[in-house]
Every structure is written in C-alpha cells, then in structure tokens.
Symmetry: C2
Subunit: 249 residues, 2 copies
C-alpha cells in the first residue's frame, strides 16, 4: 500500500510541473510521500463540510467536485477536479473542511497525511512553491466562477464552462479541446452555473441549434472553438496554463 519503487502518485507530478520545474530529487521525494489508496463510487463524499481533515486527497482517476449546500437545500458546485488534482489540499491545511468534496464518477484516490505535505512543502522550496501555486490557481478559477455565475447570462455561463472543461481536460490528457467526454449530468451542470436543470437543457439545445456544439450522450464536440469561446466570454488566462497548452486555432 505504501508506494516505493512504483508510486501511484505520478499523476500529481505532471500537475505540479505545470507550475514549476522540479529537480529529480524533488520528484523522488514527491513520489516517496506516504499514502493510502482507496477507490470510491460515484456520489460518495470525499470530505464533508465542518469535519476535521488530516489527509490531502490526490485524484488518480475519475472526476470529483467540490460543493456547498445553502439553506434552501440547493447545491452549488464550486469546482470540478480530474486526474492529478489535489482535491483536498485546502481543507486539509485549514484543518476543518469549509465545503464538501464528492465523487462525480468512480474514483481512485491517494490519501496523503497533511503533515507529510507540510513537511515536503517547507523542506523543498520548489515543491512548496508548486503546491502553493496549485492552490493559487484553484483560487483564480474560483474568481472566474464568481464572475461567471454573478454577471453572465445562462448561455454565456454554459459556453464558458464547456470551454474551461475543454482546456483542462486537454491539459490533463483526457480529451481534446475540439471534443471530450463530459462526465456530468445536466443537473450537475446546473449546480455549477447556478441555473436549473431545465434551463441548462434549453440552453444547451440552443448552443447546438446555433452550431456551436454537438452532443451525443455525454460526449461534447465543439464545432467551432472560436465561436464558443466568444459566446462564453472565455479567455484562458485565468487558468494560468503555459502558452503551449492553450494555443489553438
């Protein structure tokens, strides 16, 4: 269960190396972090609002999301996570979770003790910076989502979300910006965008009628990237990706 010669933590490396260059020794130290593997089913909770957290959780495969419940019982999804994402670094460092983390699909997870993370972060500046930047980029995406739900209409919100997924999935090697498997129901899209499932459906149909996207089941193909990005008021800078990851024609 404790990865030595063949650590399962490799997906984390690729993510962190998006932000900084790591030395071989840093890489080895990261791969040598202690962890416990666990597989969970869709819909299961990975962390619960208000509960103490002492492990960070690395997503090895599958998709997960963070969400908050409001007084009316409605749910707001705060972010979507995929392979290589540290889905619970924030909750772990802050000790008590301020939101829920839930599996969107069946997930393979690696739980890493908080103290091991803190230790490596402060002993190895490059690793520390990478982890910090990772949480800062998460923060940047949160800011964009505030603007998305706060000031854009339904069509723009959804187009924006589809663009974000396209680029992040492509960067994670899980799809192309011209099309990908979207693992979410319309209800979950609604919870991402602050809309209702019914209106999400109507809006997606309209995007289809306008020739911006095509859907068959859960797969989305983007007919016209430029048009969709325009419709979604989408500018990728907030994802803080390297130029070679966002250049597209």
């Amino acid at each position: 269960m404790l990865g030595q010669t063949t650590s399962s933590l490799a997906p984390m490396l690729r993510k962190l190396e998006l932000w900084v260059t790591l030395s071989d020794s840093d890489r080895e130290a990261l791969l040598a972090l202690p962890y416990v593997l666990k597989s969970i089913e869709s819909h299961r909770y990975i962390a619960r609002d208000g509960v103490k957290v002492d492990h960070s959780c690395l997503l090895l495969s599958g998709f997960a999301y963070r969400q908050k419940m409001v007084a009316t019982g409605e749910r707001q999804i705060l972010s979507i996570h995929m392979q290589g994402d540290l889905v619970d670094l924030q909750n772990s460092l802050l000790k008590v979770a301020d939101h829920n983390v839930q599996a969107l699909t069946p997930c393979d997870l690696a739980f890493i003790p908080r103290e091991a993370i803190r230790q490596i972060a402060f002993e190895r500046p490059a690793v520390g910076e990478a982890l910090w930047l990772d949480t800062l980029v998460d923060g940047s995406i949160f800011r964009e989502w505030i603007a998305n739900v706060g000031r854009r209409d339904a069509r723009t919100r959804l187009a924006h979300l589809l663009c974000e997924f396209a680029l992040r999935l492509e960067a994670a090697g899980l799809g192309e910006h011209t099309g990908y498997e979207l693992p979410m129901t319309q209800e979950q899209l609604a919870d991402c965008t602050g809309l209702t499932p019914v209106h999400v459906d109507r809006t997606l149909m309209a995007l289809g009628r306008d020739g911006l996207i095509t859907r068959t089941g859960r797969s989305v193909s983007i007919q016209n990237w430029k048009a969709l990005a325009l419709a979604g008021d989408f500018q990728s800078a907030y994802l803080h990706m390297r130029d070679d990851q966002v250049r597209m024609d």
Copy 2:
C-alpha cells in the same frame, strides 16, 4: 521610505497572527521586509488584469476590492479588502494578474517586492505557512461567494454580505458586529452580489422594514444579529476565524 526602526508593516502582523503564532524573530523579519509606501485615491487601480505584477501590495488603511469585467462591460466584485490585507499576493505570485484590484476609498499602500515575499516564505516556515493560509482563507471566501451569487436570492445574498462585513470589520478592529461604516455604494454592493443597484436598494429597504438593519447614510447597524445571520444563511466557519473572534450573543 524603507522601514527600519518603525516599519509601517505592522497591520500585516496582526492579520498573519490570526492564522499562526509567530516567533519574535519571525515578526522582526516581517517588519524588516523592504517596501515602498504609496497613497492613492478612490477608484484608482492597484493592479490590472493581464498586466505583470512584481510587487505584493499591503493595505495599510482604507478599503480596496478585486473585480473582473465581463464581455458586456458589467463588473463583478470578487472580494473586499481592508487594513492588513495583502491585496495582491495572488497576482504577484502568479506573475500576471488575472483580475483587477481597485481602491474603494483613498488607500495607504505598502508595495513589497515579490522576491522578498518568496524568500521570507521559504526561509521561515511559520511565515510561509501564515502566508499560504492567508491565500487559502481568501480562497475559502471566494468559494462562499460562488455559492452566494449562484444559489441564494437577493435578500439572502445581501444579508450574507452584511454579516461577512460585520465579522471581518470587527476582526480588523474597524467596527462592531452590531454596526459599522460600510464604505460601499449600492452600485458596488450590486457588483458584489451579481444584482442591479435598483434591486439592491429595494432589498436593503426591505431588510430595514423587517427590522433586521437600520441605515443612516453609509453606516449600517444590525438590529438583530441572529435574525440577519439566519436571513443571510450565514455561518462564519468559512472565514476560518478563531473562536473568540466569532462568538457573539
């Protein structure tokens, strides 16, 4: 201009010591950070979306906010900042700003070079952790705002915002949770909540009629904290304050 015996950076200490305990030596090192003072007027930009940033900006007095513009020209305010807040740590560490930072009132600022911040963060683990936690708490507030604009109605959104201000102002020593000077116009409140100024006005009037708040000019007094917190679906955990800062009766 370079603070030595009497550094102007003291407001930052109090903020950081909300998250961790610092040694005397850490405190001295923080106060010895190089900085440049600057005063700016209301509405002036402190950082601009898309522009390179190489200094972090500490707010010594006054209020500031972060905002993004969307394609229609509408503005979404992302967060409000006050005395002691590092308003531009995120932009600075990410190198290129992904949002604008603007003065809400006349402000006194201290600009600290990014490299000095990075250095102290990695040389002094307690300082590093405090700075990291500071950005993580910012992130927690962003998440709450996503839920606020995404899934709450106008009345709840505004009540929530007023509660957040109350606690943060009180923690910063700038007001009481029973009442405070709100430095924002209704238009700015609208930009925080994703509403229109007209609807903000109607909603505030309704909160007044219902006996939850009283307003005279810019000063807000909270008649009934419990009722306002209930109306605003406000639970302070996301602010990650210490217990003694949020206990109120």
